[in-house]
Each structure stands twice: as structure tokens, then as C-alpha cells.
Amino acid sequence: MTLIGEIIAVFLTLAIFSFLYKDNPAYRFAEYLIVGVTVGYGLPLVYKNAFQPFVLQRIFVEHKFIFLIPVFFGILFWFRFSRNYGWLSRYPIAISMGMVGAGVTMSMNSMVLVQVRQAMIPLETFNIFLIFLGTITVMFYFFFSKAHTGLYGKFSRIGIWYMMIGFGASFGYTVMARISLLIGRLQFLADTFKGWIA
């Protein structure tokens, strides 16, 4: 069984690699298979980890019939694809969207205000000054209510340089990321073949 598994895994890996040559049936087979298998894999997990404890046990074992209300709303999700009753699905969606309110103040807090605080720390070293300069010039660049002319324009040009260096950093890291994935696969192939030979 282990050997069969390995053969399948190697075959599927090579099937995907064959895309490098060109799009072909083996690639497409693997491609379509993964979609089905992934969803199929999730189904029993959802049943076991969510449906059973949160729905079945609550109603049939604990007899907490108040939970029939969320079950009702949950079922309304399924009307999403109905032509005439599609609007019913808006109710559960609306309920799940409610938490967006928490997102407003919390994102404002963490993504904006905390960063603003960090941007105004005392300029004790030259590096902190450079960071300060970079932050405000990049913000100038993304300020659309004033044309980039004169001194202001020059100032926002500095922002571009900062951004380019920043993107360069992302670029360098991304190269590493892509190669890492390939390393992982080649390592797998090498190990498997080694195992077969042994």
C-alpha cells in the first residue's frame, strides 16, 4: 500500500511538472482531481468537527431547542442558488457580516493608529530619521488631492525611491519563496527514488 501510494504521488508530481512542456491531459487530470478530493476531504471533517457537536448534539442530546433558530438561518444559506428565493440567503449572510463592525475600530486601531504611533517615535538615530522621511514621502506619493509639482513633487519623488527599494526587498524574498517550493518537491522525488533503489 505504501509503495502504491508513493508511485501515485510520484506520478502526480510529474504530471504537474509536465505543464512546463505544455498544457496536457495528465496535468489537467491532476488539476481536476485535486479540486474534488480537497472538497471531499473536507466534508466528513465538517460533519465530525462542526455538524455533530454544534447541531446534532445540541438539539437531539441536550434538547436545547433554541438552537433550531440558527439551524433555520443556516438552512437559508442553501437558497443562495434558488432563482426565486435567493433573497432568503441574505439573512444568514447579513448575520455573518455583522462582525464587520468589530473590524472597523479594530483595524483602525491596529493597522493605522499603532503604525502612526510608531511613526512618531523620537528621532534618536539617523535610521529612525530615514524611516520617518520614508514614511511621510511615501504617503505624499499616495496623496491624490494635489498635483506633484515643485518642491512637493520632488518630495514625493523620494517616496518612489523608498518604494522601489521596498519592492526590491519583496522581490528578493519572493525568489527565495518560489525556489523553496521547488526544493521541497525535488527533495521528495529524490528521497522517493532513493528509497526505491534501496
Partner: protein
């Protein structure tokens, strides 16, 4: 290297072959079919009061690839229920000689996830027909009271009941003429522990890696024996505290043996030889004790809890005495080291001070009053901005500690000093001065005022520095104007191995803070103090005590009662704890029973009042009595159980969450001081309840900013909708877009427009679509073909509509070709392959990539490069921007995409939001610049207004 590796492979193979061979020669091959568990034994766990059994067996050979050993347990040998398992990794196997499983402590027994009826575990093949194995993958006993009733009295059972259920879902059940509260089985989780004296039967069933069940083991039984582990105290210390030459007290400090079930009964102090002293404990009636009478100090449970006691020394006519009701002993200060101190446990076993493990402390030590730690005078604060489940005991002013240092040699030699600070809202650290002085020098070589607390200070190392010790002087200023700045010291000593300066302990008032620990005790629901925090290290200045709101309540299970169909638990309930009188009121869950009980309670209190003379105490008791009477009146109204439990719940919520504290500062060697808060004016103890706060002031900045931004967004989106002209600066990219369309026209080749990988609803896609409208219009004017492949089938008709509109606007509806906007596939890579095919086949002159993109962007732009097309991109996907910049001729970065689309299309939603963001950014910029100027000039209020996390 590589060669060696090959050889090791070879040797492994050889070994394996040899191993295989030897197996086949000498032993019958063990297979899945005939594998048998050997040496399976069930033993009592010694010294645990009979609460556990230990199962041991020999593991099956690793080549069977065992995944799991499932344990089945029963109270009869013929029906066994699944009760736990040992998991293994089948690939690696198990290396030891013996696998064990400890069946002790409360473990899940039956709960809502248990099967509804008795399930035979059909995968197990019993060794004989009489034995049955029950259970499912994770559960043993079923939710069937008939079956469970057999377990009554055979296990120690505890019911875990959710708060909501606890107060609402019980019924009166009478069993053997006693009244119990019965809960439905489905609503409680029952935990079980083995009981001493009951015989349990076990069997182990192995499972292999494909979850095939192997042959179960024999059924083996075992009985837990109630055998408490009783040991004398483990350590004992005694200190004579003197003030100059006057003895003040004799301190005792001891520690019980771990896991011991014995507590300490008394301490004896002898003025005698060790041998004589020993005979005191061996004396019988025939052979009585001959020496001097000792001083005997009997220890009550409260003192036992503390593990320390201070006996005052009384001076009479120039002589000093240890004195209490039972005995007295004169103390001769000269010979204090010859005195014998003995602690005796309640089971009679003793520990002599002479035998205490730490050799330095084997006689009474003399210590001066100044050696004692500072009295931990503390205050109790409620934690602000919280739900009301934490209060904090604070006994020390804010502290700063240098935690580590490291050298940094880049462009000069630097020392990086990391520090930590401990403070609390009631009094916080405002700033501190750090002065560093080299050993032997007078003047500090470095001084700084650390007003922005970022936990790190970087400084240049002086030229003459040669791994000397550095003294750090930290002068602390707090936000309390009444507190004078105070100084802490730390030595930084160079460590040769670590190559860093290692900070010593903090010294305050000449006392090293780490030489003491703090112990926090609290009373809650009963008048005795119990420990809440064992050893809080000396540098901590506070302890947060979490007093959770109750979520689960635990009751012992009396019985599973099939007759009533309920799980029975006791009917008693603690209604309240009165901190003023330190009295706890225990009544019943049932109104009728409570009515009887409260009457007796009232009489008892009445009797007590009659005896008391202290007016304050009397008043408190009378208050208590009146609240009891009020409760009685309510009960006398013949209220229902439901209403009654509502009243109980209220009282419990209010009174069971109050605590009173006591803190010890101690070196755990007999030097200790303690502090209790002064009594209230009416003579009662100070109790504290955490407060549930209504507003979190830490979030104030976030809230204000959100409101301002919300107003800006609402206003500008509405203005844009009304068509008010809102200025957007010209974006350089727009010119490029026009040029690129022109080029395609010149070359007579089509334009490709990729509207991103995301669906409609994503802002970038919307922006891309509005740019598409303008591009398509231009293209229609020039009569150039435009191709729009989509990845989303909902997007396709919308894009079609946009392109059609554009042709109509340009006055060329005839040139619109519906098939130029088409859906390829939802799959990321297949979509890219499709787009690449189009580029190559159609030889597109200009490619637009607008919208959001993922990892695939590179594949498209690269192909575009090869075909020699002009490429213009615009995306807010930050990770893809670098690739667009390096592979495309022009890239709209991030928000420029929105701006371009707003500029070209005036789409109100995008335009309005963009303007609102612009103005908000302006506010932010203003704050950043002003804030930086202020903070650099050491004014940090603006900085502090913004949240830190």
C-alpha cells in the same frame, strides 16, 4: 562523504537481512493474525490514596506497525468499555521494553458525544465468547442510564454542569427517602476516577497502521488500594530574630514533602541534647521521657497552609521565654545554636532541624531585624478596562530591570542594553535615568534620560573599556507626583563564555530583590486563607488574580437513576458568603428544604448574638441576621423552585467573587514578613470584588478616529454621487495608457485587457472595470480590437456590457463583437495558459493587466515580453507589484489604480472613498509630523494617546 553514506546504506541492508534471517530461524514469525500481548499486568499506584491503577505490557514488535493500543475497562470481566488509548507512530514504533498506561484522576466517562445506546465494538475479536467489548472510536459507556447504573458506587463520579443548565434544568428526585437534584444525562458531562477497593478488569487491544484490530490481550484485573503516602516535613528552618541584643521572635519555616498526605501537627523546641530529645518521641509509659519539658506549639490548618510561623519571645525579669497555654521554655541566647527544633506530622513522624537537608541551616540561625525583607504593604486594585474578572495586588513601586546586554561591532563598538519594566496602572513608570559607571571610576561614562520606553538603549562603548564591571544606576520617576525618585542598582559583569555583560539582581535599599519571593494568599467563600500564588519572584511588584465568572459547576454524582431518567447530584447549594461576618450560608436547591434550613440558621445566629459583647461584632451579626430574615420572608411566600434558584444565583454572583488577601515576603529559610490590610471601620475584613467596566479607554483613540473617518467617507461618497467635481491629480500612467492604445492602432494589432484574478466585489476589480470602459471607448474610436478574457463567469456579462456601452458611446456600436469578451476557466494556471495562448496567437500589441493578481502574474507578463507587446499594469496586490515593475513598461502602484480609475471614470464609490482617504491621510500626516517633533523634544503625550497594540 558520499561514499560513506553508501556504505552505511549497505550495512543497514545487511543488518536487516541478517535480522530477518535470524527471526525465521529461531522464532515463529509474528504476524498480524497471531500477535499476542504479553506480560500484561495491572498494578496499584502506591501512595495515591487508591485513586489510580497502572497498566503495563510488552509492546508488540515494531514491524507490526502498531498505531494505537486501545484500553478497555470493566467492572465485570465479561463486559469491557473503551476507556482510553496509547497512540504510537507506526513508522517509528516503540523503543522501550514496556508500555504503560496510567488510569488515574478524573477522566471523561460519559457526555453528550457518547453513543446513545450500548454499542458493541464489533471490530474487536474477543478471545472467548463470554467477553464483550463496548464502545466507539472515542467513547466507551453509552448514554443509557440502565447501563450506567451498574457503575454507581463503582467509580468516583463528578458531574460537570454548564452554568445555564445548572440553574435551570434540575428536578426533585427522591432516592432512599433523600432529596436530590436530578439533571438530564444529555446536559451533563460525567467524569470518573477509579475507586479504592473496587476490582476493575482491563484488556488491551492493539491496532495497526491500517486500523486493523489485532488480538486483544487477556482480561486482567486490579484493585486500587487506599494507601496514603504519609511523610514527615521535607525541610525545616528556624531563625531567632533579634533587635540589637533583644530577641524579638523565633521564626519557623517548613515545607511538606511533595505528594504527601500528612500535614504538620506541632513544633517542639528543646533545650537539650539531641539524643535526649529523640527519646521524647520514643517514650512509652514504662519508659518515660527524662529530659527537660519542651516548648510545644500546635499548628492549626491555617498555619499549615502558610508553612511558616513566628513565635514572639516574651521578656520577664531579664529572662526570655517562649510561652503559650500549653508550655513554656526559657531561652538562653548564648546557647541558641544548641537548641533542638522538631516538627511533627499528624501521623507522628518527625523531622529534626538537625536533619534538614540544607546543611547550612541545621541549627537555629540568628538574624537581625534588618535582615528581614521589607513588609509587603500592598493595595488591591481593580483592573481597568476589563470585564471584571481580574484584580491586582500591588506591593512594590515600579521597577526597571536590565535583562540582557550584547555588544555590537559595526561601525564602532556599541553596547545594547535591553531592559524591562514592571509597573501597574495605579502608579506607572514615567521615565528613568540610566547612569553607567566603570568599576573604580567616580564619574559615569554614560547618562541618559529614557523617556520613550522602547525596552532598548544603545550606547557607544568608551575607548578605555576593557571588560570591566559596570555599575548601572537607575533613577526611577513615576507618574505619581508624591513619589520621590528612587534608585535601583545593578552590576553588569563580563562573562567570558557568553561574551556579554551579565546583569546582576536589582538592588534596592541595599537589598537584592531576588533574595526574596512573595507568596499571595486569599480567602474566598471561607474564612481561611489559601494560597493563590506560590512563589512570585522578588522583582515582580504585583500579582494579577483572575476571579473567573463561573462557567461550569461541579457536583459529585450520587447515582445514575434509570427510574427517574436523571443523573442525581446533592441538593445542597452555597447561597452566599458574607465577608463582614465571614459566614457562609448553605441551603438547598429546593425552596421547601431551604425554608427549613434557614430557620435553623437564624436560630444559630440568634444564639451567637446573645453571647457576643463586642458592639461592632454584634452589629455585623445583626445585619447578617436581618439579611437572613429577608431571605426567609421571600421563602415563606411559597415561591417556586425556579424563582428560588433565581434568587440564589443572584446572591452567588454577587458574593462568591470577593476576596481578601494576605502577602508574605520570604526567603523560604525562616526570614519572612507578612502584611494584611487593616480592618474596616466596623471591624470586618476588607474584601474586594473586581468591577465590570463599561468603557475601554484604551480604545478611545480608535473610536474617535473611526468616527472621523466614517463621517469623511459618508460625506465624500455622497458628494461624489451627487456629481460634485472632486479634484484628483493627473496620474502619469493615464498618458501611458493613451499612448499604448495609439501604438496598437498604428500596428493594427489587437489590445488585450486582463481584468484581474478576483471576482466582482473586490475594489481592484471594480477599478479595473471602470478603466476597461475608458480603454474600450478609446479603442472603439480608433477602431482597434480589444480582447477581454475573464476568470470569473459572473464577471463576463458585466465586462461585455461595459465594452458594449463603450462602443455605443464612441458612436461605433457596429464594431462591438460580443465574442471578444469571454470566460476561460476558473483555475489559476489554466487561465494563465489560456491568456498566454491568446497573446501568441493574436500577437497583441498592448497588454493591460488591471485588478488583483496572485503568483501567476509573472507567467503572463513574461510571455507578453517575448511577444514584444507594450505592457501596462495596475494592481493593489503588493506582492505582485515588483514583478510588474520589472516586466512591464508602466505600472500603476497600489492606490494609483483606484486614482486612475476615479480620474477616468468618476465612479462615485471609488472617487468618494479615495477623497475621504486622502483627507484622513492628511490628518494622519499632520499628527505624525507634529508627534515626531514633540516626542523628539521629549514631550510624549501625543505619542501616548495613540495605542501601543
Amino acid at each position: 562523504m558520499h561514499k560513506n553514506r553508501n556504505k552505511s546504506w549497505l550495512s543497514v541492508i545487511l543488518c536487516l537481512v541478517a535480522l530477518n534471517f535470524s527471526f525465521s530461524l529461531f522464532a515463529e514469525k509474528i504476524t498480524v493474525e497471531n500477535a499476542k500481548i504479553e506480560n500484561f499486568v495491572v498494578e496499584d499506584v502506591p501512595g495515591d490514596l487508591g485513586s489510580g491503577l497502572l497498566l503495563k505490557w510488552k509492546p508488540l514488535p515494531n514491524e507490526l506497525k502498531i498505531l494505537e493500543y486501545r484500553i478497555y475497562r470493566g467492572i465485570t470481566p465479561d463486559s469491557l468499555f473503551y476507556s482510553g488509548s496509547v497512540m504510537l507512530n507506526p513508522v517509528v514504533g516503540f523503543a522501550g521494553e514496556e508500555i504503560s498506561f496510567l488510569d488515574s484522576g478524573f477522566k471523561p466517562f460519559v457526555d453528550k458525544s457518547s453513543p446513545g445506546r450500548l454499542v458493541v465494538d464489533s471490530k474487536v475479536k474477543p478471545l472467548d465468547e463470554k467477553t464483550f467489548y463496548f464502545g466507539t472510536a472515542n467513547n466507551g459507556y453509552p448514554r443509557d442510564l440502565e447501563v450506567l447504573a451498574q457503575a454507581n458506587n463503582k467509580f468516583s463520579l463528578i458531574a460537570q454542569i454548564e452554568k445555564g443548565v445548572y440553574y435551570s434544568r434540575y428536578e426533585e428526585v427522591t432516592l432512599d427517602e433523600q432529596l436530590f437534584a436530578g439533571y438530564p444525562l444529555g446536559n451533563v458531562s460525567v467524569l470518573a476516577r477509579v475507586r479504592s477497593g473496587v476490582e476493575y478488569f482491563y484488556s488491551v487491544v492493539p491496532l495497526n497502521e491500517t486500523r486493523k484490530y489485532l488480538r486483544p490481550s487477556e482480561v486482567v484485573s486490579g484493585t486500587p488500594i487506599s494507601d496514603p503516602l504519609q511523610k514527615p516535613a521535607r525541610e525545616l528552618y528556624s531563625n531567632l530574630i533579634v533587635d540589637g541584643s533583644t530577641p524579638i521572635s523565633l521564626n519557623f519555616d517548613w515545607e511538606n514533602a511533595t505528594g504527601s498526605y500528612s500535614s504538620q501537627a506541632a513544633i517542639y523546641v528543646f533545650d537539650d541534647e539531641l539524643e535526649v530529645t529523640k527519646s521524647y518521641f520514643e517514650a512509652t509509659e514504662e519508659n518515660p521521657y527524662q529530659g527537660k519539658e519542651p516548648f510545644i506549639l500546635s499548628l492549626d490548618p491555617q498555619i499549615n497552609e502558610y508553612g511558616k510561623f513566628s513565635q514572639p519571645i516574651i521578656s520577664e525579669n531579664g529572662a526570655y521565654f517562649l510561652k503559650n497555654e500549653d508550655s513554656q521554655l526559657m531561652i538562653d541566647l548564648e546557647r541558641i545554636e544548641d537548641y533542638q527544633v522538631v516538627i511533627q506530622a499528624d501521623n507522628g513522624q518527625t523531622l529534626f532541624l538537625k536533619d534538614t537537608p540544607n546543611s547550612r541551616y541545621q541549627s537555629i540561625q540568628t538574624a537581625s531585624l534588618t535582615d528581614l525583607p521589607q513588609v509587603p504593604t500592598f493595595n488591591v486594585y481593580d483592573v481597568p478596562n476589563d470585564k471584571g474578572d481580574t484584580q491586582i495586588v500591588v506591593w512594590e513601586k515600579p521597577l526597571v530591570e536590565i535583562t540582557k546586554t550584547s555588544f555590537h561591532e559595526k561601525l564602532g563598538k556599541f553596547l545594547i542594553v535591553n531592559y524591562d519594566y514592571y509597573d501597574y496602572q495605579a502608579e506607572t513608570l514615567k521615565s528613568f535615568d540610566l547612569k553607567l559607571t566603570l568599576e573604580g571610576q567616580e564619574k559615569p561614562f554614560y547618562e541618559t534620560d529614557e523617556f520613550y520606553l522602547d525596552n532598548v538603549i544603545k550606547l557607544a562603548v568608551p575607548d578605555d573599556y576593557d571588560n570591566n564591571t559596570i555599575t548601572a544606576e537607575i533613577i526611577i520617576k513615576t507618574n505619581n507626583p508624591d513619589t520621590e525618585p528612587y534608585t535601583l542598582y545593578q552590576n553588569l559583569k563580563f562573562d567570558k563564555i557568553l561574551k556579554a555583560l551579565i546583569p546582576s539582581a536589582i538592588v534596592k535599599n541595599n537589598i537584592a530583590l531576588n533574595s526574596f519571593n512573595y507568596e499571595v494568599y486569599a480567602k474566598e467563600g471561607s474564612p481561611q486563607y489559601v494560597t493563590v500564588a506560590g512563589k512570585v519572584v522578588g522583582k515582580m511588584n504585583n500579582y494579577s488574580d483572575v476571579i473567573s465568572y463561573e462557567r461550569f459547576l461541579y457536583e459529585s454524582v450520587i447515582a445514575f437513576d434509570p427510574e427517574s431518567g436523571k443523573v442525581l447530584v446533592p441538593g445542597d447549594i452555597q447561597v452566599w458568603y458574607d465577608g463582614k461576618t465571614e459566614k457562609s450560608l448553605n441551603l438547598s436547591k429546593f425552596a421547601s428544604v431551604s425554608k427549613e434550613k434557614i430557620a435553623t440558621e437564624i436560630t444559630t445566629v440568634e444564639e451567637e448574638i446573645a453571647q457576643i459583647t463586642d458592639p461592632k461584632h454584634k452589629e455585623r451579626l445583626e445585619n447578617y441576621q436581618s439579611s437572613l430574615l429577608a431571605l426567609q420572608t421571600e421563602l415563606n411566600n411559597n415561591i417556586s423552585n425556579r424563582k428560588w434558584i433565581g434568587i440564589v444565583k443572584n446572591h452567588r454572583n454577587n458574593s462568591l467573587r470577593q476576596k481578601s488577601y494576605k502577602v508574605f515576603a520570604s526567603n523560604n529559610r525562616g526570614l519572612f514578613t507578612s502584611y494584611e490590610l487593616p480592618l474596616n471601620e466596623d471591624g470586618s475584613y476588607q474584601y474586594f470584588t473586581p468591577i465590570s467596566n463599561q468603557f475601554d479607554y484604551d480604545k478611545l483613540a480608535g473610536l474617535l478616529a473611526s468616527i472621523i473617518f466614517a463621517i469623511l467617507v459618508a460625506v465624500y461618497v455622497n458628494l461624489a454621487k451627487k456629481g460634485v467635481d472632486l479634484y484628483i491629480r493627473p496620474i502619469a500612467g493615464i498618458q501611458e495608457i493613451d499612448n499604448a492604445i495609439g501604438r496598437a492602432t498604428e500596428m493594427g494589432r489587437p489590445i488585450l485587457f486582463v481584468p484581474g484574478m478576483s471576482s466582482i466585489g473586490v475594489v481592484a476589480t471594480l477599478a479595473a472595470l471602470s478603466i476597461l470602459g475608458k480603454v474600450a471607448k478609446k479603442a472603439a474610436e480608433y477602431d482597434t480590437r480589444i480582447l477581454v478574457p475573464t476568470r470569473d463567469f459572473i464577471l463576463m456579462p458585466i465586462a461585455q456590457e461595459i465594452v458594449k456601452e463603450a462602443h455605443i458611446e464612441a458612436g461605433r456600436p457596429d464594431t462591438f463583437d460580443k465574442n471578444s469578451v469571454f470566460f476561460i476557466t476558473t483555475d489559476q494556471f489554466a487561465y494563465v495558459a489560456g491568456v498566454n495562448g491568446i497573446m501568441i496567437r493574436e500577437k497583441t500589441a498592448t497588454n493591460f493587466y488591471m485588478g488583483s493578481y496572485f503568483a501567476e502574474s509573472l507567467l503572463m507578463t513574461e510571455t507578453g515580453n517575448i511577444t514584444g507587446a507594450i505592457q501596462i499594469a495596475g494592481t493593489d496586490s503588493v506582492t505582485q507589484i515588483p514583478f510588474f515593475i520589472t516586466t512591464c513598461d508602466y505600472t500603476l502602484i497600489g492606490e494609483e489604480l483606484y486614482a486612475a480609475s476615479a480620474y477616468m471614470s468618476k465612479e462615485p464609490m471609488i472617487l468618494g472613498t479615495l477623497k475621504a482617504q486622502d483627507y484622513f491621510k492628511f490628518i494622519i500626516l499632520f499628527f505624525i509630523i507634529v508627534g515626531t517633533i514633540l516626542s523628539t523634544s521629549k514631550i510624549t503625550f501625543l505619542l501616548d494617546f495613540f495605542p501601543e497594540k
